[in-house]
Symmetry: C2
Subunit: 456 residues, 2 copies
């Protein structure tokens, strides 16, 4: 038997007690986020009107390398962490590759994804600040589920604006959220001014993520004791998600393994940023070198085909502007089932690391992604989320290259979650009805042309 | 900090390498299963026509205490085992109980339940025998999913007859099975004689589990190189599921803990039998004492209100007869969402242990079960399957008794799986639309009166 077990579990006392802020090691920092009204860098006071104070501080702090993980959060983490770093022996055998494939599996919790790592942190700071509750939006429901679980744990009110079409057509995640005590409102609703306005203007509309964000932000600022929370894109979220990378590195270190290649799917960048942070830090400090690959859908290729510019983080244009690789906030990705990767932009931190050449990017088509997902499920036993399967696709491609060259590379990828609530997409694939969609240059130009003109 | 971690994980080299057959330690053995045609004990040859040879041997062997777990199966187990034994610190705190609550969590695999433990064993022996494939039936789809995963791993054909109403109304599990390469056929189908007959007699019928079993058995015996497999009730299944109890005991032993009370939900008895086997063995050998409780739904109370007699294992009356606690194979349990507990009888092994007073039984109503499920989900972070939640209910009740008496009992229960595919039931509960159903004595008398007259 090989000495490396199928699953490397850290002990609870080996879990990280600090999050790592990769911005601290970046000589050139990500550009500051801007107030959408003034187009000037947001101040801590402006940001604290929307987000909890301590989270706003984390958001703006690009020099502190480590933040203590409060004990209450560490205790919650222990309910589902440390997550296993799995050696994909069966996949290696199936591929006949000399490569050693590992994956960090974040799906063993009821939210089904890594989102819980930041949800619990954001709920904790809201509770600590004495708030009554938080508001957020959710599309397919992964983030909303994670936040519901976190708020239930800290006995916080949780108001989720769920895109109406998902609310009606994907009732299962909605019911998970309700089981955890969240108020789930189909958006656009009649609860908010913006919701009433949209309902009046477009009767019968099934909603959009942009509209749901606008409602959630309005609900937060118009209720005493509420703040808005967000599950990706933000630097604070990447900070919390660094627990993924720190555990991965600790598990590798325990067995004296150095990964050659680190692969993660990238939508808003929360999982990728979290997974790679400590490794990118080593590169930035000149201590090591890794081949880091962000994988995005060909249908929504912000890194590989977008521009690096200031843009609105939301289609409703109520959130701060960020400098990022973007397709334009008006870009509407079609026909892609990986809901978590359908974001027009990319975390500022990930964007800046990409711009500096610390990481590379690759786009993949969804039928190829589902082919990889099915192969992985059959040999590794885990039915992966469509989002995660983007990383699986590239990991398999790289392992097959190793088969040709004979290299025994150590490849690790982030398996962000499970696909149990994505069976409609799998059904399409099983029935041979799935198609690919790649936007034309003209499509992209149209939305990129709508970028705000920001002159700092 | 308490010395006992939130999750006790055994190392892979501490996993059991043998299954334990509790029948070996029973002085009075479970009664033999009977050929439904002759009403005489089935012979190994008769049984081998339906089941794989080695599985038939395991079924009939009530003297061998330990069976080696083949290396191929142990390797598969390593993909999702050892499963964690979790200390429910958060639930204890919520209840304010001095009791120490533990649960053995079997839901961290894509089948979402413990069923995979036996599915992989049955697929292995089918492969070893050189078969082309296996057939089975599935209701809600938990067993079918587990079997699909197992067959996919060993590259065996997997034919699943799924009750038509579930096939149509619960498409998600169907698609998981298809993703793992299974052929899923709505039952009654036109593939089999019995299916065609039922379709002709009852046009538009939505099927039943009894009918699906009959089709699966016919498909197995009428195709060269196929055998039928079953996910519960059988002694071979309890043997494979003993891995649950053996791991639980090893984890307790590692920390020097002796459980006072062992609680499991009981439908056909596979989970309960597996969880309690090594503990029941100690009782049978006079080495220890434990309070073992089987929990069943009040809507389908085979142990608490059934009779101990020979009965058909299936409503189609094609499978062998077994002596068991039963409500009569014609009993149709209504209005209970825990599909896995809707079985008219109970494993012969569990029935005999119950008859000998080694274990006790309790029935609970489903609204109380979902109340416990919701409380558990909110504090422990895992959304439990309705089946598993029966055990949660009694564990909470017992922990609350400890609160009154001040006893610090060690309570362990089996958390057999997750409820991600049961959100329709949770939705009913969330909407306050769930009701309880308890059969009247007359209801039970009617179906019990239909028991076959067997005179050995």
């Amino acid at each position: 038997m090989n000495e490396i077990p199928y699953k490397i579990y850290l002990n609870e006392n080996e879990m990280p007690d600090k999050w790592y802020n990769v911005r601290a090691d970046m000589k050139k920092k990500p550009a500051p986020i801007l107030n959408p009204g003034t187009l000037q860098p947001v101040t801590i006071d402006e940001l604290s009107a929307i987000f909890c104070r301590e989270l706003a501080e984390q958001e703006l702090d690009d020099t502190t390398a480590y933040f203590d993980i409060p004990e209450e959060i560490r205790n919650f983490y222990k309910m589902y962490r440390p997550s296993p770093l799995v050696r994909a022996y069966c996949l290696e055998k199936k591929l006949g590759t000399p490569a050693h494939i590992y994956y960090k599996f974040e799906g063993n919790n009821t939210s089904g994804s890594h989102k819980l790592n930041s949800a619990i942190a954001q709920a904790y700071y809201a509770k600590k600040q004495g708030l009554k509750g938080v508001t957020t939006e959710t599309g397919a429901g992964q983030w909303g589920t994670a936040l519901s679980m976190a708020c239930s744990y800290f006995d916080l009110d949780c108001q989720v604006y769920m895109v109406k079409v998902s609310y009606e057509q994907k009732p299962f995640r909605r019911e998970v959220m309700r089981t955890y005590g969240a108020q789930v409102t189909p958006s656009p609703s009649m609860n908010t001014e913006v919701g009433r306005k949209i309902n009046a203007e477009f009767p019968g509309t099934t909603g959009s993520l942009g509209c749901a964000i606008s409602e959630a932000v309005e609900a937060a600022v118009s209720q005493e004791g509420y703040r808005y929370v967000l599950g990706s894109v933000l630097a604070q979220v990447l900070l919390h998600q660094s627990v993924i990378g720190l555990e991965t590195k600790a598990a590798f270190d325990k067995y004296g393994i150095k990964p050659d290649m680190i692969i993660g799917c990238a939508g808003g960048g929360s999982n990728l940023g979290g997974l790679i942070s400590p490794f990118a830090g080593e590169i930035l400090r000149g201590e090591a070198n890794y081949d880091i690959i962000a994988v995005e859908p060909a249908s929504c290729p912000s890194l590989t085909r977008g521009v690096y510019a200031y843009d609105f983080c939301d289609t409703g244009k109520v959130c701060p502007l960020a400098k990022m690789y973007t397709l334009g906030s008006g870009f509407i990705p079609s026909a892609n089932h990986a809901g978590g990767l359908r974001y027009h932009g990319m975390s500022s931190v990930v964007s800046e690391l990409y711009d500096q050449g610390i990481i590379s990017a690759r786009s993949v088509e969804q039928t190829n992604v589902f082919e990889a997902a099915e192969m992985f499920a059959r040999v590794e036993g885990i039915l992966p989320a469509p989002e995660s399967s983007h990383a699986i696709r590239v990991a398999i491609d790289e392992a097959l290259k190793c088969k040709e060259t004979g290299e025994a590379k150590n490849i690790v990828f982030g398996l962000t979650g499970t696909g149990y609530f994505d069976m409609v997409a799998y059904e399409k694939y099983n029935n041979g009805e799935m198609t690919d969609y790649i936007p034309t240059d003209d499509d992209l130009k149209k939305s990129i042309d709508t970028l705000p003109k920001v002159d700092l």
